[in-house]
Symmetry: C2
């Protein structure tokens, strides 16, 4: 997305569109790119959704509702950052697609430095927690901000080890959703000295389904992700996979095969993650990687407002969808239609609730 400074009204509309029903980050970016700004996108929304078969247009929060969210954030001392704004974290802006908005509490300047995520098991061993704390301290002294998820175990140890040098907690709920409750003190210290980040509105309580999105923010804010202890099929492995998909470095701390909490990290190493025995391993690898100021990756398609799919194409694309994620360009090939037109059809189907657009230019039936 083009960098822009927003008027108060544009910010409010940006937030309304971000919170609109059926508008995910892919559709959000498409709408901004094709309509020019959020206000015009909100105006276009009913027609696009209807063309893809929706009867009731998707709900867009009225201006007053967005104003209430902005006021609630201000009351917390939180700051809303829109993906088009210069203050938006550059590594997040480079995601395909970026989250449309984030709330931050504390020093959002930390989100412009060089960051490493340190994540792992909630039921971590004492040794694993000690390792995470020391690693975070050493990486902090090496100039890195530490990003983690405020969870029990490894996450908490990573934050504690980096309170002095810079720590970022990414929450699954709103910017005031402290979970687990016993991390209230840690949350407050991070909000004061570090930074808290959330994609959700103030007052929103995290549900289980919010954590993959939270994990995507953790890796998205970081040049690399270190997984300290993780069982097989754990959330930390999802973060590692997302990091790989986002082109971030993945590090894993090995452990004894007799310890179930090392199964996930050993498996990551087997799959090609860099073996991490301490901060040196991370610093050496990330040294060569730029200051986190990279430009957004171009998306595969450059949508034009003139790319108007007709009803027949929308029907054809809808029929090609299945619960198995498929790359857009394969769908376009199967549909025998130009990529940008199929992309437009997919966005419209997503607005109609008939399709879900996934990061990495993939789609599934909705």
């Amino acid at each position: 997305m083009e960098k822009a400074r927003l008027t108060d009204e544009q910010r409010r509309d940006w937030l309304r569109l971000a919170r609109a029903e059926s508008v995910g980050p892919v559709a959000f970016r498409y709408l901004i790119e094709t309509c020019g700004d959020a206000g015009r996108a909100i105006g276009a929304l009913p027609r696009l959704a209807e063309r893809a078969g929706r009867v009731q247009p998707p709900r867009v929060p009225p201006p007053a509702e967005a104003e209430r969210e902005l006021a609630a954030g201000a009351a917390l001392g939180a700051r809303l950052l829109c993906a088009c704004e210069p203050a938006f974290p550059p590594l997040l802006a480079a995601l395909d697609p970026p989250p449309p908005v984030i709330w931050t509490v504390g020093d959002a300047g930390l989100l412009h430095g060089r960051s490493v995520a340190v994540v792992g098991a909630r039921n971590a061993s004492a040794a694993g927690q000690r390792f995470a704390r020391t690693l975070a301290t050493d990486l902090g002294q090496g100039g890195f901000t530490i990003v983690s998820g405020l969870a029990r175990g490894i996450d908490a140890a990573a934050h504690e080890g980096s309170l002095e040098t810079g720590t970022v907690a990414v929450l699954g709920g709103g910017p005031d959703d402290v979970y687990p409750p016993e991390h209230d003190g840690l949350y407050r210290r991070i909000a004061e000295r570090g930074c808290v980040v959330s994609e959700s509105p103030p007052g929103y309580r995290a549900q289980a389904r919010d954590f993959p999105r939270r994990n995507r923010l953790i890796s998205g804010l970081s040049l690399g992700v270190v997984v300290v202890e993780a069982e097989l099929r754990s959330g930390s492995l999802i973060t590692a996979r997302l990091a790989g998909e986002q082109g971030r470095e993945v590090f894993a701390v090995p452990g004894s095969p007799l310890d179930a909490r090392a199964k996930g990290t050993n498996d990551l190493i087997r799959q090609g993650a860099a073996l991490c025995e301490g901060a040196e391993d991370v610093i050496r690898t990330l040294e060569g990687i730029g200051a986190g100021m990279r430009e957004p990756e171009p998306t595969g398609y450059h949508p034009q407002a003139s790319d108007e799919p007709d009803a027949a194409l929308i029907r054809r694309v809808a029929e090609l969808l299945s619960p198995t994620p498929m790359p857009w360009d394969e769908i376009a090939r199967a549909a025998g239609a130009p990529g940008p037109l199929v992309y437009a059809a997919l966005v419209e189907l997503s607005l109609a609730g008939r399709c879900e657009l996934l990061p990495g230019s993939m789609a599934v039936s909705g």
Copy 2:
């Protein structure tokens, strides 16, 4: 070396040449290949050593001394296998160069099957020993013979775990050199149900300098080597390096960075060793590898008795040597002389004690 059946006299001479002063395995193979048999090689030895500057010819044990070694072995119930004999383990025969002779006690048939070495720290943790024992049992049930070094810790656990299915102990001293002494009972059980292997004569006590050669036998007898726990700069890592040089698979069991006994194995993984969390990892990798019956790799040079280096070439080659190991072909290039002639000059210098020939076609000043 060509496969051959030996007469009693040829066996005795083979052993005499193997035990001759300054005759390492490279020179041994060269002498057999150029002279045709051990008896003629013993006859040629003084002239070759003298040409390279030696005044007293290298000592060759008289026939009676070899007879005494053979009788001592027979008294132990041990069996001498010469590198040219069909009973010699095929994986060892394929080494470049093979050991000229080995003594075996017990079931030498085990040396013709599919073997995996399991080695590691002497001061292993209880968890490491348990892992090694279970791994050896599981690999044994998967059809593999387990090779190790009878040492304390991981080695002993690996032998114990595979006594029922097939275990091979390779000793640094003679075939009766039980070390450490408390492994006397284990040694006897291996000699009865498994196989003991040694390159040294009966009665010989291992010195520290014998262990790299022992380690080369351990990896040489095996399709792969699993290192269970190892500190940095430990003997197990030497075994792993030798295994890599011999084209064997190297496996390492990961461990916590907080455990010094995992430093070596984690480092192996970092360098490309396969991560091993159990027998499955080993079996899956070795499945595709032949039954251990591969033909000896051809050496770089095929020496002819007619390759007679002159004094000037021998001097030139001697001057090119240094304490840094150099490949023979680089020495030949630097000397500006044909490879086979330089190879002959190197062997003669080694017989004169002025050069050491290393596995992998390398040479250092002697």
